[in-house]
Amino acid sequence: MDLTVHIGSLTLKNPLIAASGCFGYGVEYAGIVDLASLGGVAVKGLFLAEREGHPPPRIVETPAGMLNAIGLQGIGVHRFVDEKLPELRARRATVIVNICGTTIDEYVELARILSDAEGVAALELNISCPNIKEGGITFGCSLTGTFDVVSAVRKVTRLPVIPKLTPNVTDVASFARAAEDAGADAVSLVNTFLAMVIDVETRRPKLSNIVGGLSGPAIRPIAVRMVYECRQMVKIPILGMGGIAEARDAIEFMIAGAAAVQVGTASFVDPFIWPKLIDGISQYMQRHHIERVSDLIGTIDTRTRDKQWISS
């Protein structure tokens, strides 16, 4: 059985990637998961500089989901390269670095630094963090902004460039197209949905940042639809995510058009989820006589049925 998938020039040993911001810098999980067994590890969004992020409360649970407004607390790219990358390298993780900037120059600078560092497999451009104004969302909500930041980064790196798209737009597929046109190797989607919860007793938002990003199973059907739409618009691979909690969900994203998937919130609930997902996918492939997992990608069958009846 062949679980490898290809993202541009990069080969992942399986389609399962730990989603950015949901797996620390990866090293936190080294005792729980064999990092080398994952298709990839997308580390927490990095700016050039260190950041403290938003005051707590930073998360709140919602029906089948959660909001977060961490505010991209982080150690900055230099400390990441010095303090975390060596261990990730030693553990043979396939490291995808999620980068955030306020200006195109910052993305370019981050890309340069990380291209020179040893052990970075790909760059995921976070142009979709809904929680901070300066987190690239202005790029992510504008087609030319998306195009410009991707092209600029494209010029300075040979690493696969993977812009991460926001779902908070009317037509996500047009953003995937802009990214493709600008030379992206793949696109990641979705980041979180802008949302809020109000404590009715105090009439105050439950998050210090007022709004936050919704993730988890609640958003899965919207995310699957978006992957499906993008699949029809672009040829580059799609890294699909949003509420994946079981092997079945990962397979659903692949059938909708994702070449690989990321798992965030569900790994909070079950940090030991990874081998379970791999097992579940393998069992499915066996049951359906699928030799290569990549044969699943985009194989949704949308023939309309005249049939009125569910079973028969």
Partner: protein
């Protein structure tokens, strides 16, 4: 390394209309846990509620030979998951991940251990008291609650030889008022050459007051903080606590991996 077990509920003892003690079969976690550590609990299997919830290890349960069989949780019903834990029945199964976090550091005689608990903040102290008394350390429990009916396990602490100082907000047992008052008095009267370690767990106002009081009296203080935790493993950065930085500012640390026990004088209370 933490482990994740599908733990059978061995017993559920109701203490009041809001509090209960849930006994979970989890020998490996029980064997590995140190006082002050916590577990992440998921009482159902649906996506609502979604995330696990953090709970202190209350007691380490043992069989007649002293071998660990499981742990118990002291649970206070405040919302969805604590509600499910309150109503859980023997035979149900609960996902239990742990032990997690940095435990208390213990003190040896002649140092005394003063534990300060507010409400459900009692949770980490049963295990701590057992460990302390086991090494002969003199222990005092300052324990405040709303009312007498919510002061639990007093006999257990007494049996260990722990001195009890109690307060209730309605004056129904012990001193009338908050627990920091008797703590403050006792700190004032304690000779400074007699070493004391203060341990505290409870509502944040109480923690801040305890930390300040301890600092004012030059006593070290270990605070077990309670933050909303998404993962318990350092993955999500939801559980941060502001700690003083050298430059007079603060920085956030993840209380799930650098805590939940933190040095009271280093926390930025504001």
């Amino acid at each position: 390394m933490p482990i994740d077990v599908v733990a059978d509920v061995m017993a559920n003892r109701r203490l009041s209309s809001d509090y209960n003690v849930l006994a979970l079969a989890a020998p490996a976690i029980a064997a590995a846990a140190s006082p002050g550590q916590f577990v992440m609990i998921r009482p159902g299997r649906s996506h609502d509620p979604l995330l696990r919830r953090p709970f202190s290890v209350f007691e380490v349960l043992r069989d007649q030979h002293g071998a660990p069989t499981g742990i118990s949780l002291l649970n206070k019903r405040v919302g969805v998951s604590t509600g499910l834990i309150y109503t859980a029945q023997a035979g149900e199964r609960v996902d239990c991940l742990g032990p997690l976090g940095r435990p208390f550091s213990l003190v040896d005689p002649p140092a005394q251990a003063w534990m300060v608990a507010g409400g459900v903040g009692l949770a980490p102290f049963a295990a701590l008291a057992e460990a302390l008394c086991g090494r002969g350390t003199t222990a005092v429990l300052f324990y405040g609650a709303r009312t007498a009916a919510e002061l639990f396990y007093l006999d257990v602490f007494r049996a260990l030889g722990v001195e009890l100082v109690l307060t209730t907000e309605d004056g129904s047992l012990g001193e009338h008022g908050r627990i920091v008052a008797p703590l403050e008095r006792r700190l004032s009267s304690q000779r400074t050459d007699r070493p004391v370690m203060v341990y505290a767990c409870g509502p944040e106002g109480m923690l801040a007051a305890t930390a300040r009081t301890a600092a004012r009296h030059g006593r070290a203080c270990q605070i077990s903080v309670e933050r909303i935790m998404g993962c318990g493993l350092g993955g999500c950065y939801s559980c941060v606590v502001p700690m003083r930085s050298d430059d007079g500012r603060f920085h956030y640390v993840r209380s799930c991996i650098e805590g939940p026990v933190l040095a009271g004088d280093q926390i930025q209370w504001d």
